[in-house]
Symmetry: C2
């Protein structure tokens, strides 16, 4: 088994789930003798002689401690194996007599499972590959939601709850940049900070965040500046949540455009991810647009939440439980003789207070490579998130603190 891509706060829950599921399933029945972990994903079996760690005899206390630990305990990788790379993976499996392959990751990891499965079949080597879902972006097809998302969403919600009060206490315009190159789910979670299902069409009458921009809705700079101006003029403050991947009607990302334009004093570097460039560029644009001729510039600040979103050590309880569950389900399917699948999460009850989910399976090819976007009805009015997203996301993030006011 291995872990791949950007880590999450609960990716080790899935690792623990696979190990537990194997211990009570294929290992207990004698069909599997050893459990190996690949260090740094498929690199651990395909590169430089491999780097496998024996997980066969992990004590329950160690499994539980690792499960509670954020980020990938086996290490991760950004490698996206092609055919040749997958042939090396298969060769590594043959050498170690590996017949089951569990890969915890996003759609690239599902694709790796798919290619390795096909290569094994071509070579007549019996091998069963299972993709265990993981991504804070929440962008896997065939899933209601994905492990890792809810904990990151909880961070984004809590951050906006506290930051809204900070913004209210000193006034001005605050822009928060949230992870998400293509899917806006995580940025949309900022809207849960309102603790209100329905919000006003007039952004100034909504609880903060007043404005939310996601990659699925084309970003128009003039509309954005108008929206911010309108809220700030009425309230003396404005909190904005923005996806790092917002783009214009042509699909071109806003961040690089701000940097190139020279109209704002923003970064010149090309590396956008993991930099404060988009937030600072938007802040500069707002300051420029909202400063009256000869007048005083409004207070404008930007925070880019960065990597804390995916590795904050306090998780959503639902997320932790489901991440464990998809790992166990993968091992259970393997024990039942499934020849390879991607594990899925289905929501079976969304009645308030009675949220329930179930694990299922999809073909690897149905999940591999393709990314899911936010459904259209989750966006609202070009600068807001709908009540249907609230209903979707609130059961996932866990209890939120209650605030008092004077």
């Amino acid at each position: 088994m291995g872990q791949s891509g950007g880590p999450t706060a609960v990716i080790n829950q899935s690792l623990a789930g696979v190990v537990e599921g194997l211990q009570t399933g294929l290992v207990a029945s004698g069909k599997v003798k050893k459990i190996f972990g690949m260090r740094h994903g498929v690199r651990g079996i395909a590169k430089d002689g491999g780097d496998l760690v024996d997980l066969s005899h992990l004590p329950a206390a160690t499994i539980e401690a690792v499960a509670q630990t954020p980020s990938a305990a086996l290490g991760s990788t950004r490698d996206k194996p092609d055919d040749a790379y997958c042939a090396q993976i298969l060769e590594g499996c043959r050498q170690n007599e590996i017949r089951y392959f569990f890969y915890i990751g996003g759609n690239d990891s599902a694709d790796t499972c798919r290619i390795v499965s096909e290569k094994a079949a071509e070579a007549g080597y019996e091998m069963r590959c299972f993709h265990v879902p993981k991504t804070i972006d929440n962008d896997l097809k065939e899933n209601d939601h994905t492990p890792g998302f809810a904990s990151a969403a909880r961070f984004v919600t809590l951050a906006h709850m506290g930051d809204a009060l900070d913004n209210a206490s000193l006034g001005g315009i605050k822009i928060n940049v949230v992870m998400g190159r293509n899917a806006g789910f995580l940025t949309a979670a900022a809207s849960l900070a309102r603790r209100a299902r329905e919000t006003d069409k007039d952004a100034a009458k909504r609880p903060a965040p007043h404005l939310v921009y996601v990659p699925e809705v084309p970003f128009v700079m003039d509309h954005f500046l108008h929206d911010v101006d309108s809220v700030y003029t009425k309230l003396g403050r404005c909190q904005v949540a923005v996806s790092e991947g917002i783009r214009d009607a042509n699909g071109e990302e806003i961040g690089p455009q701000l940097m190139r334009s020279g109209e704002v004093d923003a970064h010149g570097n090309v590396q956008l991810s993991g930099s404060g460039a988009l937030g600072d560029g938007l802040a500069d644009a707002v300051k420029k647009a909202l400063t009256p001729a000869g007048g005083k510039a409004p207070r404008v600040r930007a925070d880019t939440f960065g990597y804390l979103q995916r590795c904050w050590p306090v998780t959503s309880p639902v997320d932790a439980r489901e991440a464990r569950g998809v790992g166990r389900h993968a091992a259970a399917l393997a024990a039942e003789g499934d020849t390879g699948a991607s594990i899925t999460i289905e929501r079976t009850s969304n009645v308030p207070g009675e949220y329930r989910s179930a694990f299922g399976r999809a073909e690897l090819s149905a999940v591999a490579r393709y990314a899911r976007h936010m459904p259209e009805d989750f966006s609202d009015n070009g600068n807001n998130i709908s009540a249907s997203f609230y209903d979707y996301c609130m059961p996932l993030v866990g209890d939120l603190p209650e605030f008092g006011t004077l």
Copy 2:
């Protein structure tokens, strides 16, 4: 009473403490008839006709709910009143027959209390001013530590704990910029993420964060790049914590120098606070220095923690308790006939597991204006934090999660 300066996660605990202390003290004894809150600090009594809110009859449940809420419930201000402004404050107090003045804030707030006290004495108006300490920077004189610091320190510690594992899983160099223009206490809290009292002189043998730079120790770019290179070469990864206010041997801040130099692709804007400029500039410098001629650049990322540090809704229990306590103590001193003071925190036991503190008083003039810096023995080796800081800070931040490894 009012709240001033950058809010903290526990500044409302102090507000609640003052209200409770008055209710059971001066109000119960009949010496005070009404409790007013100033909206947005002294602006609420001195500007535009004032904006006072009656807090005389707050139910206990409301007080408790507000106490648990981050940021300044009355609103805050960045105004630093001079003599003329303080005369307006005094005039507002006279008009409302106010005889006690409680101001929750940093050293500027203590100075406001001092000036208002002096103006009242000059005018023969009996008036008692109490400064209630608050600052995440931990830079007030006469105090072991200040309310607000420990909760922010807890955030910084947890963030580095999770981020260290994120950095380990994918490798590369990670730079985290922490608040603190002049005092390094908050950045030093990153070192608690190691969960180890003693650390190696060799940065590569320390648990992450491997390197910590504070404003009190002159920052030498060549040494920094050498430090990072040395750790990265040995481990394939390096986690760095940096204060936003790091400066060179001449006392000049590094951030603006990076922006002006043109050697790195950083921001051109002057606004450093609340921007990602320093982190991105340092990341660019590291990338440039560590990329071999014709070779591949290392993975370098920077996060600027920003405002989340001071408004994260989950606090340190010690901090919440002490912030409440300094508010109550101020009201108690007033009831005892104290003619005006700044409340202080003294540590009375630092035995592990038996941390205790007591509240005291200092003259307003002893706290006003002057900022405290980190004691020299908290820094170590130019790029590290000492075991004595560990002993100092660990009792304040509360329980930390235990992590597992494979």
